[in-house]
């Protein structure tokens, strides 16, 4: 079996790279201990600071075609429990689970002595590391904290410096995605002395509007406020931002990745882009702590199948495969091929190619896709008296690709509901690769 033990930022140990992210699932010691029993390797405590007052309701979501909570939005603030209660529970958890990672997420007033005080107290309680919440986009930012810090590189650098003046454990800076280039704050955190980064925090969002009441969600007495968006929907954005900071030569810090992680596949992808540990929040909120079991054995089975003995063996392996568009090979050429044996004749590729791509998929006897006016004018069919026995797709319904016109865009392959029906096949003559950067230089 692959070894999943994790040593993060040189000093934070956990039995596996799966940590609860700072949020509702990591609100109190009792939850976190149950999570550890379920298999989680670590937890970042729900952000500790001067207790706040929350509103009701707090969450809203985006469902997609029957899948609930494809994206989740929250307007909940940091911990509403007294600082000393949280710290006492940290001590309790560490005493009972010495081999698991417990990281204190912190957010206090932007004053040097206040930060010094909370850092010392958190470390005295026994936390293995500190995560500075410079990312929360709602409620706290209006008070000069959270993303109000994370959006200004100078503030982020300054507060990191304050923390580092007294911190004895690794300091992780949690980055907000609500900024034009996440690398600017990553570099500022590095400059301030951060030991590691966490990315990404939630994305500013309004998830939707109740079309009866006209109130956006979540509804707080007829009004709403923008919240922080997370869950499966944000994973592509998180992957991109993790790649940006992992690939930045000026940053070069360990990354704890977060953003839509709910399965071992998500985890493997973030590790391939350079992450050292993984945090999850929406997935355990949706399905409970038990999901970690599949994350653990799914990841280790995959690692075994690929021959990776530990996380470091494959961490960052996909990073060299991300490059600027200008370095992509213009001579690489693929086209779509439709397998007539598996095609079910839905013609989604046909209409997608005509209306949404490059008009190179054709159906016999039709120059262009025509809407159903054609069938209502046809003379009527009658109910057959014998049941249809054959479920083979009639050849005339199977679309055909004009390979000379096909630009290899992938759209047909993406819309095809049958696995392995459309394949994208390489057809170039093996010409020497040439990028746009090279071509424009040679001209």
């Amino acid at each position: 079996m692959a070894d999943l033990t994790t040593l993060f930022a040189g000093r934070i140990k956990s039995p596996n790279p799966f940590w609860l992210a700072s949020g509702p699932p990591a609100n109190c010691g009792e939850q976190i201990m149950r999570a550890f029993d379920a298999g989680w390797g670590g937890a970042v405590w729900k952000t500790i600071g001067e207790p706040i007052v929350n509103v009701s309701s707090r969450y809203s979501s985006v469902d997609l075609n029957g899948y609930r909570m494809m994206g989740l939005n929250n307007i909940e603030l940091i911990s509403d429990r007294p600082i000393d209660v949280n710290l006492r529970e940290i001590a309790e958890v560490k005493r009972r689970y010495p081999n698991h990672a417990v990281i204190a997420s912190l957010m206090v007033e932007s004053k040097r002595e206040v930060w010094h005080d909370i850092v010392k107290r958190a470390e005295d309680a026994g936390s293995d590391g500190l995560e500075l919440n410079f990312g929360c986009p709602h409620g706290m930012s209006e008070r000069g904290m959270g993303s109000a810090v994370g959006q200004v590189p100078e503030y982020a650098c300054m507060i990191t410096e304050w923390v580092k003046e007294v911190a004895r454990t690794p300091v992780l800076v949690k980055l907000t995605p609500n900024i034009s280039d996440i690398r600017t704050v990553a570099r500022a955190a590095k400059k301030g002395g951060a030991d590691a980064l966490t990315a990404i925090n939630t994305i500013n969002s309004i998830t939707g509007i109740d079309l009866d009441s006209l109130t956006p969600r979540p509804d707080v007495g007829g009004k709403s406020s923008h919240g922080g968006y997370c869950g499966p929907a944000v994973k592509p954005i998180a992957l991109h931002m993790v790649q940006q900071i992992a690939g930045d030569p000026q940053v070069q810090l360990p990354i704890s990745a977060i953003g839509g992680i709910g399965s071992w596949r998500d985890a493997a992808e973030f590790i391939l882009l350079g992450a050292s540990s993984l945090q999850a929040c929406t997935a355990p909120m949706h399905y409970g702590f038990r999901i970690v079991e599949d994350m653990i054995d799914g990841l280790s089975h995959w690692m075994d199948s690929k021959g990776y003995a530990n996380i470091e063996a494959f961490r960052g392996l996909s990073l060299p495969r991300v490059t600027g568009w200008q370095h992509l090979d213009l001579n690489f050429k693929i086209v779509a091929r439709i397998n007539p044996d598996t095609c079910i004749g839905c013609q989604l590729c046909y209409t997608a190619c005509w209306d949404g791509a490059h008009q190179c998929i054709h159906v016999d006897g039709a120059a262009k896709p025509e809407i159903s006016a054609a069938i209502s004018a046809a003379s009527i069919v009658r109910t057959p008296t014998t049941p249809t026995v054959s479920h083979a797709t009639p050849p005339k319904r199977i679309p055909k690709v004009d390979e000379h016109e096909c630009v290899g865009c992938n759209l047909c392959w993406l819309v095809c509901p049958v696995e392995n029906c459309i394949s994208m096949v390489r057809v170039d003559k093996g010409e020497k690769p040439q990028s746009w950067a090279e071509r424009s230089k040679s001209v």
Partner: protein, 409 residues
């Protein structure tokens, strides 16, 4: 016992949530095979997409635009050999989309929210007569009203709706449902004259004088006779009378054992209904082998599951007070005998209209327009096709309406 508890629904409706889940499963095929398989060419993926977005009224309008009998068709269509049979999911061994149930879901919403059909009012519009108030005439009339023509429907029965009212098995469709469709068509301004027999209460000449075109949608006549001894006994009933009686009359007593003669879908409807009405033993006697039976496979399956006993190669030769004797030596006990060997042609009525051509007792029409040899007459439904589904009648009624509009302009 109420009819509802005697005849529980064969396929219960979908809940809103289940309907959306099922609608989301639809691939939204282009030029979809399901729509092509529907005789009325309902744009199935379009109405399903509207269910998934919560646009139920739009969904129902899409259905009704193609087929005004969207509700009854959603209940009685043999979807397995039509839209659902054509669903591309069949090609990959997936369950086809339950199109019939989704269509019912949209239609129930339409009726529950008192939806209306589009129609026009045109001054000095031409007048069209529809003979028969069954599905074919309803479809024809609704289509004509869309274009502003004046329509009068004549029917010899006391209630409109034709076989939807009198002849569909109760566990599939109730007379109340049929009435909702009639009222929808009536609300477009169609005039219904019930209890009027053509050639008797109104002459053909008067009809031709008053109306610019005449649509014949009279369906078929009663069940054909067996021509065997005992057929006239009191406990022998034809299938359509039996179905009409249990749907509209007092509770029926069929006795302990029932024999149904025939091998079609109507025989199965009658046999299953007899079971619901309390018969312990119900046998279907069919003169040929299992493979020759004209009933749909799923109807046969339904009968089997309902505990109906099938006796093959058994042609009745004599009916006594308590038995049916067959040519293969079988003697089947029966307190009620139901004859379901196909409907006869309404030759008596059709032959009064001398100018139209008949073939094998069926009205001959141009398959593109539904027009008969006499250009003033159009026809559709069972009297043309020899007895098929509601959806076929709806398609042919609509086709004739388009033919009439074309001919009049």
């Amino acid at each position: 016992m109420t009819p509802d508890s005697t005849f529980p629904e064969l396929h219960p409706p979908l809940s809103q949530q289940a309907a959306v889940a099922e609608a989301n499963r639809c691939l939204f095929c282009f030029d979809a095979p399901c729509a092509g398989a529907c005789p009325t060419h309902i744009d199935v993926p379009r109405f399903i997409k509207k269910i998934s977005s919560g646009n139920l009224l739009g969904s129902a309008e899409t259905i009704l635009d193609a087929n005004v009998l969207g509700l009854s068709c959603s209940r009685v269509c043999p979807v397995q050999v039509l839209c659902e049979g054509a669903c591309v999911y069949n090609n990959i061994n997936h369950q086809p989309i339950t199109i019939g149930l989704l269509q019912r879901h949209a239609m129930e919403h339409f009726y529950a929210s008192a939806g209306k059909l589009p129609y026009k009012t045109v001054p000095h519009a031409r007048k069209i007569a529809c003979i028969g108030a069954g599905p074919a005439s309803l479809a024809c009339a609704a289509e004509l009203r869309k274009h502003g023509l004046n329509v009068t429907i004549f029917d010899k029965r006391t209630q409109p709706g034709g076989l939807n009212t009198y002849g569909v098995a109760q566990y599939k469709f109730t007379p109340n449902d049929a009435a909702r469709e009639v009222e929808l068509v009536r609300a477009t301004g169609v005039e219904f004259k019930s209890g009027i027999a053509i050639g008797k209460d109104i002459s053909i000449d008067d009809l031709e004088r008053e109306f610019a075109a005449i649509f014949i949608g009279i369906g078929l006549g009663g069940t054909q006779p067996l021509d065997i001894p005992g057929e006239k006994l009191g406990h022998v009933v034809n299938a359509l009378q039996f179905i009409a009686a249990y749907k509209h009359a007092e509770p029926m007593h069929v006795g302990h054992s029932v024999a149904v003669v025939g091998g079609g879908n109507t025989a199965i409807d009658a046999a299953v209904a007899a079971k619901y009405l309390g018969a312990v033993h119900v046998s279907i006697l069919y003169r040929r082998a299992e493979a020759n039976m004209s009933a749909f496979a799923f109807e046969y399956e339904h009968a089997r599951r309902s505990g109906i006993n099938f006796i093959w190669n058994a042609r009745p030769i004599n009916i006594t007070a308590h038995t049916v004797e067959c040519d293969n030596g079988n003697v089947i006990p029966a307190q009620t005998v139901i004859v379901a060997i196909g409907q006869s042609r309404l030759l008596e009525t059709l032959e009064k209209i001398r100018t139209i051509k008949l073939s094998n007792g069926q009205v001959v029409v141009n398959p593109e327009t539904g027009q008969t040899d006499d250009p003033k007459y159009f026809a559709g439904g069972d009297c043309v096709n020899g007895g098929r589904e509601v959806v076929d009648a709806a398609a042919e009624g609509k086709r004739a309406a388009k033919g009439i509009l074309q001919w009049l302009t």
